[in-house]
Protein backbone atom coordinates (compact mmCIF):
# COMPACT_ATOMS: atom_id res chain seq x y z
CA UNK A 1 0.00 0.00 0.00
CA UNK A 2 1.48 3.31 -1.11
CA UNK A 3 1.37 6.82 0.27
CA UNK A 4 -0.62 9.75 -1.05
CA UNK A 5 1.20 13.03 -0.51
CA UNK A 6 -0.15 16.44 -1.46
CA UNK A 7 2.43 19.02 -2.51
CA UNK A 8 1.11 22.48 -1.77
CA UNK A 9 2.06 26.02 -0.83
CA UNK A 10 -0.80 28.48 -0.80
CA UNK A 11 1.10 31.03 -2.82
CA UNK A 12 1.71 30.47 -6.52
CA UNK A 13 5.09 30.45 -8.19
CA UNK A 14 7.11 29.01 -5.31
CA UNK A 15 7.89 25.71 -7.02
CA UNK A 16 5.07 23.22 -6.39
CA UNK A 17 5.01 21.87 -9.93
CA UNK A 18 8.79 21.85 -10.28
CA UNK A 19 9.09 20.03 -6.96
CA UNK A 20 6.38 17.50 -7.84
CA UNK A 21 8.05 16.74 -11.18
CA UNK A 22 11.49 16.38 -9.62
CA UNK A 23 10.47 14.39 -6.57
CA UNK A 24 8.33 12.07 -8.69
CA UNK A 25 11.20 11.52 -11.09
CA UNK A 26 13.74 11.13 -8.28
CA UNK A 27 11.58 8.54 -6.47
CA UNK A 28 11.15 6.56 -9.70
CA UNK A 29 14.91 6.74 -10.28
CA UNK A 30 15.43 5.01 -6.94
CA UNK A 31 13.12 2.20 -8.03
CA UNK A 32 9.79 3.29 -6.59
CA UNK A 33 6.53 3.07 -8.48
CA UNK A 34 5.21 6.60 -8.74
CA UNK A 35 2.16 8.47 -10.05
CA UNK A 36 2.11 12.24 -10.11
CA UNK A 37 -1.30 13.87 -10.33
CA UNK A 38 -1.86 17.36 -11.67
CA UNK A 39 -4.71 18.75 -9.55
CA UNK A 40 -4.57 22.18 -11.16
CA UNK A 41 -7.70 21.77 -13.30
CA UNK A 42 -7.95 24.51 -15.92
CA UNK A 43 -4.33 25.59 -15.52
CA UNK A 44 -2.42 22.37 -15.94
CA UNK A 45 1.35 22.51 -16.24
CA UNK A 46 2.83 19.35 -14.78
CA UNK A 47 2.66 17.70 -18.23
CA UNK A 48 4.72 20.53 -19.73
CA UNK A 49 7.33 20.52 -16.96
CA UNK A 50 7.66 16.74 -17.41
CA UNK A 51 7.89 17.10 -21.19
CA UNK A 52 4.85 14.84 -21.60
CA UNK A 53 2.38 17.33 -23.09
CA UNK A 54 2.22 15.62 -26.47
CA UNK A 55 1.31 12.29 -24.89
CA UNK A 56 -1.65 13.39 -22.81
CA UNK A 57 -4.80 11.83 -24.22
CA UNK A 58 -7.04 11.47 -21.20
CA UNK A 59 -7.31 13.44 -17.96
CA UNK A 60 -8.64 12.88 -14.45
CA UNK A 61 -11.93 14.38 -15.66
CA UNK A 62 -12.27 11.58 -18.23
CA UNK A 63 -11.73 9.04 -15.45
CA UNK A 64 -14.30 10.71 -13.20
CA UNK A 65 -16.86 10.90 -15.99
CA UNK A 66 -16.09 7.30 -16.92
CA UNK A 67 -14.94 7.99 -20.45
CA UNK A 68 -11.80 6.03 -19.74
CA UNK A 69 -10.30 3.57 -17.27
CA UNK A 70 -7.92 4.99 -14.67
CA UNK A 71 -5.00 2.84 -15.90
CA UNK A 72 -5.53 4.02 -19.45
CA UNK A 73 -5.46 7.71 -18.45
CA UNK A 74 -1.98 7.42 -16.96
CA UNK A 75 0.78 8.79 -19.18
CA UNK A 76 4.01 6.83 -18.96
CA UNK A 77 7.18 8.89 -18.54
CA UNK A 78 9.62 8.92 -21.44
CA UNK A 79 12.79 8.51 -19.41
CA UNK A 80 12.21 6.65 -16.17
CA UNK A 81 10.53 3.29 -15.54
CA UNK A 82 7.52 3.16 -13.24
CA UNK A 83 6.71 6.88 -13.43
CA UNK A 84 3.25 7.96 -14.56
CA UNK A 85 1.34 11.21 -14.89
CA UNK A 86 -2.38 11.76 -14.44
CA UNK A 87 -3.03 15.04 -16.20
CA UNK A 88 -5.65 17.64 -15.33
CA UNK A 89 -8.35 18.69 -17.72
CA UNK A 90 -7.62 22.04 -19.28
CA UNK A 91 -11.24 22.67 -20.30
CA UNK A 92 -12.87 22.22 -16.93
CA UNK A 93 -13.07 24.26 -13.77
CA UNK A 94 -11.73 23.35 -10.37
CA UNK A 95 -15.19 22.86 -8.88
CA UNK A 96 -16.13 20.37 -11.61
CA UNK A 97 -14.30 17.80 -9.49
CA UNK A 98 -15.50 16.84 -6.02
CA UNK A 99 -13.20 15.87 -3.14
CA UNK A 100 -14.80 12.38 -2.97
CA UNK A 101 -13.92 11.77 -6.61
CA UNK A 102 -10.33 12.79 -6.03
CA UNK A 103 -10.20 10.60 -2.92
CA UNK A 104 -11.45 7.64 -4.95
CA UNK A 105 -8.74 8.10 -7.60
CA UNK A 106 -6.02 8.35 -4.93
CA UNK A 107 -7.31 5.29 -3.06
CA UNK A 108 -7.21 3.20 -6.23
CA UNK A 109 -3.75 4.40 -7.23
CA UNK A 110 -2.12 3.76 -3.87
CA UNK A 111 -3.12 0.09 -4.13
CA UNK A 112 -0.63 -0.24 -6.98
CA UNK A 113 1.92 2.55 -6.58
CA UNK A 114 4.41 3.31 -3.80
CA UNK A 115 3.95 7.06 -4.08
CA UNK A 116 1.06 9.16 -5.33
CA UNK A 117 2.16 12.80 -5.43
CA UNK A 118 -0.60 15.36 -5.91
CA UNK A 119 0.45 18.73 -7.31
CA UNK A 120 -1.95 21.21 -5.73
CA UNK A 121 -3.06 24.44 -7.37
CA UNK A 122 -2.26 27.72 -5.62
CA UNK A 123 -4.93 29.15 -3.35
CA UNK A 124 -7.10 27.82 -0.54
CA UNK A 125 -10.28 27.21 -2.52
CA UNK A 126 -11.89 24.12 -3.99
CA UNK A 127 -8.84 23.18 -6.06
CA UNK A 128 -6.69 22.95 -2.95
CA UNK A 129 -9.36 20.98 -1.08
CA UNK A 130 -9.63 18.53 -3.97
CA UNK A 131 -5.87 18.09 -4.07
CA UNK A 132 -5.74 17.42 -0.33
CA UNK A 133 -8.82 15.16 -0.29
CA UNK A 134 -6.98 11.90 -0.89
CA UNK A 135 -3.77 12.80 0.91
CA UNK A 136 -2.60 11.41 4.23
CA UNK A 137 0.61 13.42 4.22
CA UNK A 138 1.64 16.84 2.93
CA UNK A 139 4.74 18.56 1.69
CA UNK A 140 4.69 22.34 1.97
CA UNK A 141 6.83 24.25 -0.47
CA UNK A 142 7.86 27.74 0.52
CA UNK A 143 10.44 30.26 -0.55
CA UNK A 144 12.17 32.35 2.13
CA UNK A 145 10.05 35.46 1.68
CA UNK A 146 7.33 37.11 3.73
CA UNK A 147 4.37 36.43 1.44
CA UNK A 148 5.19 32.77 0.69
CA UNK A 149 5.77 32.00 4.38
CA UNK A 150 2.56 33.74 5.39
CA UNK A 151 0.57 31.70 2.87
CA UNK A 152 2.38 28.51 3.90
CA UNK A 153 1.30 29.13 7.49
CA UNK A 154 -2.31 29.46 6.41
CA UNK A 155 -2.13 26.20 4.43
CA UNK A 156 -0.50 24.36 7.34
CA UNK A 157 -3.43 25.41 9.55
CA UNK A 158 -5.94 24.10 7.00
CA UNK A 159 -4.11 20.77 6.59
CA UNK A 160 -3.87 20.27 10.34
CA UNK A 161 -7.62 20.75 10.60
CA UNK A 162 -8.01 17.89 8.12
CA UNK A 163 -5.74 15.69 10.26
CA UNK A 164 -3.13 15.42 7.54
CA UNK A 165 0.04 14.29 9.29
CA UNK A 166 3.00 14.55 8.90
CA UNK A 167 3.30 17.92 7.21
CA UNK A 168 6.88 18.48 6.09
CA UNK A 169 8.57 21.52 4.66
CA UNK A 170 10.73 22.04 1.60
CA UNK A 171 12.47 25.39 1.64
CA UNK A 172 12.92 26.29 -1.99
CA UNK A 173 15.17 28.79 -3.76
CA UNK A 174 17.35 29.54 -0.78
CA UNK A 175 20.35 31.69 -1.60
CA UNK A 176 23.14 31.17 0.94
CA UNK A 177 24.81 34.36 -0.26
CA UNK A 178 21.74 36.47 0.47
CA UNK A 179 21.21 34.78 3.84
CA UNK A 180 24.79 35.54 4.79
CA UNK A 181 24.38 39.15 3.77
CA UNK A 182 21.32 39.34 5.97
CA UNK A 183 18.98 39.97 3.08
CA UNK A 184 17.15 36.66 3.11
CA UNK A 185 15.24 34.96 5.92
CA UNK A 186 17.36 32.05 7.13
CA UNK A 187 16.37 28.39 7.35
CA UNK A 188 16.28 28.55 11.13
CA UNK A 189 13.98 31.56 11.14
CA UNK A 190 11.60 29.90 8.67
CA UNK A 191 11.48 26.77 10.83
CA UNK A 192 11.01 28.83 13.97
CA UNK A 193 8.08 30.66 12.41
CA UNK A 194 6.29 27.71 10.78
CA UNK A 195 7.24 25.13 13.41
CA UNK A 196 7.05 22.05 11.17
CA UNK A 197 9.73 19.50 10.25
CA UNK A 198 12.16 20.29 7.47
CA UNK A 199 12.27 17.70 4.69
CA UNK A 200 14.91 19.52 2.69
CA UNK A 201 16.38 22.68 1.27
CA UNK A 202 16.60 23.34 -2.45
CA UNK A 203 19.08 26.08 -3.29
CA UNK A 204 18.43 28.65 -5.97
CA UNK A 205 19.50 26.92 -9.18
CA UNK A 206 19.40 28.60 -12.61
CA UNK A 207 19.30 25.09 -14.08
CA UNK A 208 15.59 24.90 -13.15
CA UNK A 209 14.68 27.36 -15.90
CA UNK A 210 16.71 25.50 -18.52
CA UNK A 211 15.19 22.19 -17.45
CA UNK A 212 11.66 23.59 -17.69
CA UNK A 213 12.50 25.00 -21.13
CA UNK A 214 13.47 21.52 -22.26
CA UNK A 215 10.75 19.64 -20.41
CA UNK A 216 13.33 17.47 -18.64
CA UNK A 217 13.16 17.52 -14.82
CA UNK A 218 16.31 18.83 -13.18
CA UNK A 219 17.12 15.53 -11.42
CA UNK A 220 18.19 14.12 -14.80
CA UNK A 221 20.91 16.76 -14.76
CA UNK A 222 23.17 14.95 -12.32
CA UNK A 223 25.44 17.19 -10.28
CA UNK A 224 23.46 20.42 -10.33
CA UNK A 225 22.79 21.74 -6.82
CA UNK A 226 19.01 21.59 -7.28
CA UNK A 227 19.13 18.04 -8.65
CA UNK A 228 21.27 16.86 -5.73
CA UNK A 229 18.89 18.48 -3.28
CA UNK A 230 15.83 16.78 -4.81
CA UNK A 231 17.61 13.40 -4.88
CA UNK A 232 18.44 13.73 -1.19
CA UNK A 233 14.85 14.66 -0.39
CA UNK A 234 13.58 11.62 -2.32
CA UNK A 235 15.90 9.39 -0.29
CA UNK A 236 14.56 10.88 2.92
CA UNK A 237 11.04 10.18 1.67
CA UNK A 238 11.81 6.47 1.44
CA UNK A 239 13.15 6.50 4.97
CA UNK A 240 16.89 6.72 4.37
CA UNK A 241 18.85 8.83 6.79
CA UNK A 242 20.32 11.51 4.56
CA UNK A 243 21.57 14.59 6.42
CA UNK A 244 20.47 18.04 5.29
CA UNK A 245 23.74 19.77 4.39
CA UNK A 246 24.34 23.30 5.58
CA UNK A 247 24.19 25.52 2.53
CA UNK A 248 27.54 26.85 1.49
CA UNK A 249 27.88 30.49 0.67
CA UNK A 250 28.93 31.03 -2.92
CA UNK A 251 31.38 33.76 -2.13
CA UNK A 252 34.32 35.04 -4.06
CA UNK A 253 36.81 32.51 -2.70
CA UNK A 254 34.68 29.45 -3.15
CA UNK A 255 34.00 30.53 -6.72
CA UNK A 256 37.74 30.77 -7.35
CA UNK A 257 38.23 27.32 -5.82
CA UNK A 258 35.45 25.94 -8.00
CA UNK A 259 37.00 27.52 -11.05
CA UNK A 260 40.33 25.86 -10.32
CA UNK A 261 38.83 22.46 -9.69
CA UNK A 262 36.82 22.70 -12.90
CA UNK A 263 39.92 23.51 -14.93
CA UNK A 264 42.07 20.75 -13.55
Amino acid sequence: MGKVIVITSGKGGVGKTTSTANLGTALAMISKKVVIIDADVGLRNLDVVMGLESRVVYTSMDVIEKRCELEKALVKDRRVEDLFLLAASQRNRKDDIKPEQMLDICERLKEIYDFVLVDSPAGIEQGFHNAAAGAEEAIIITTPDVSAIRDADRIIGLLQNQDIEPINLILNRLSPTLVKKGNMISKNDVLDILNIDLLGIVPEDPGVIASTNRGVPLVHNDGSPGADAYMRIARRMIGQRVPIPEMRDDNFFSNILKWFSRNK
Partner: protein
Amino acid sequence: MNFKNIFTRKAKTSNIATQRLKLILTQDRFDVSDDSMQKLQVELTEVLAKYFEFTMNSVKMSLKRDGNSYVLMADFPFKQLKKSS
Protein backbone atom coordinates in the same frame (compact mmCIF):
# COMPACT_ATOMS: atom_id res chain seq x y z
CA MET B 1 22.60 43.59 17.75
CA ASN B 2 25.77 41.79 16.86
CA PHE B 3 29.26 43.11 16.47
CA LYS B 4 29.11 43.44 12.70
CA ASN B 5 26.01 45.60 12.81
CA ILE B 6 27.77 48.21 14.87
CA PHE B 7 30.06 48.82 11.95
CA THR B 8 27.62 48.55 9.11
CA ARG B 9 24.89 50.43 11.02
CA LYS B 10 22.26 48.85 8.86
CA ALA B 11 19.41 46.69 10.07
CA LYS B 12 19.46 43.38 8.27
CA THR B 13 16.37 43.16 6.09
CA SER B 14 16.05 39.46 6.99
CA ASN B 15 15.54 40.45 10.63
CA ILE B 16 12.94 43.02 9.65
CA ALA B 17 11.16 40.36 7.56
CA THR B 18 11.21 37.85 10.41
CA GLN B 19 9.84 40.33 12.91
CA ARG B 20 7.12 41.50 10.53
CA LEU B 21 6.15 37.91 9.76
CA LYS B 22 5.84 37.02 13.42
CA LEU B 23 3.46 39.91 13.92
CA ILE B 24 1.45 39.17 10.78
CA LEU B 25 1.10 35.48 11.67
CA THR B 26 0.00 36.27 15.19
CA GLN B 27 -2.89 38.21 13.71
CA ASP B 28 -3.61 35.62 11.00
CA ARG B 29 -3.56 32.64 13.31
CA PHE B 30 -5.81 34.07 15.96
CA ASP B 31 -7.74 36.32 13.67
CA VAL B 32 -7.13 39.12 16.13
CA SER B 33 -6.46 42.68 15.22
CA ASP B 34 -3.16 44.33 15.91
CA ASP B 35 -5.07 46.53 18.36
CA SER B 36 -6.23 43.74 20.61
CA MET B 37 -2.77 42.16 20.79
CA GLN B 38 -1.40 45.59 21.66
CA LYS B 39 -4.09 45.99 24.29
CA LEU B 40 -3.33 42.58 25.76
CA GLN B 41 0.34 43.44 25.86
CA VAL B 42 -0.35 46.74 27.63
CA GLU B 43 -2.67 45.11 30.15
CA LEU B 44 -0.31 42.23 30.87
CA THR B 45 2.52 44.69 31.30
CA GLU B 46 0.45 46.75 33.71
CA VAL B 47 -0.22 43.73 35.89
CA LEU B 48 3.38 42.56 35.85
CA ALA B 49 4.68 46.07 36.45
CA LYS B 50 3.25 45.82 39.94
CA TYR B 51 5.83 43.15 40.70
CA PHE B 52 8.72 43.69 38.29
CA GLU B 53 10.75 46.59 37.01
CA PHE B 54 10.77 46.54 33.19
CA THR B 55 12.42 48.18 30.30
CA MET B 56 9.13 48.73 28.54
CA ASN B 57 10.20 48.41 24.91
CA SER B 58 11.90 45.08 25.48
CA VAL B 59 8.58 43.26 25.88
CA LYS B 60 7.88 40.79 23.06
CA MET B 61 4.79 38.73 22.40
CA SER B 62 4.08 36.16 19.71
CA LEU B 63 1.96 33.11 18.94
CA LYS B 64 3.71 29.88 18.13
CA ARG B 65 2.21 26.81 16.58
CA ASP B 66 2.49 23.62 18.57
CA GLY B 67 0.88 20.79 16.62
CA ASN B 68 -2.81 21.57 16.45
CA SER B 69 -2.79 24.29 19.08
CA TYR B 70 -1.02 27.56 19.65
CA VAL B 71 1.18 28.82 22.41
CA LEU B 72 1.23 32.43 23.44
CA MET B 73 4.85 33.35 24.01
CA ALA B 74 5.58 36.47 25.97
CA ASP B 75 9.00 37.73 26.93
CA PHE B 76 9.08 40.22 29.78
CA PRO B 77 12.75 40.82 30.53
CA PHE B 78 12.86 42.57 33.90
CA LYS B 79 15.57 44.38 35.79
CA GLN B 80 14.57 43.40 39.27
CA LEU B 81 11.72 42.49 41.51
CA LYS B 82 9.94 45.39 43.04
CA LYS B 83 10.27 45.57 46.76
CA SER B 84 6.88 44.97 48.29
CA SER B 85 5.79 48.03 50.16
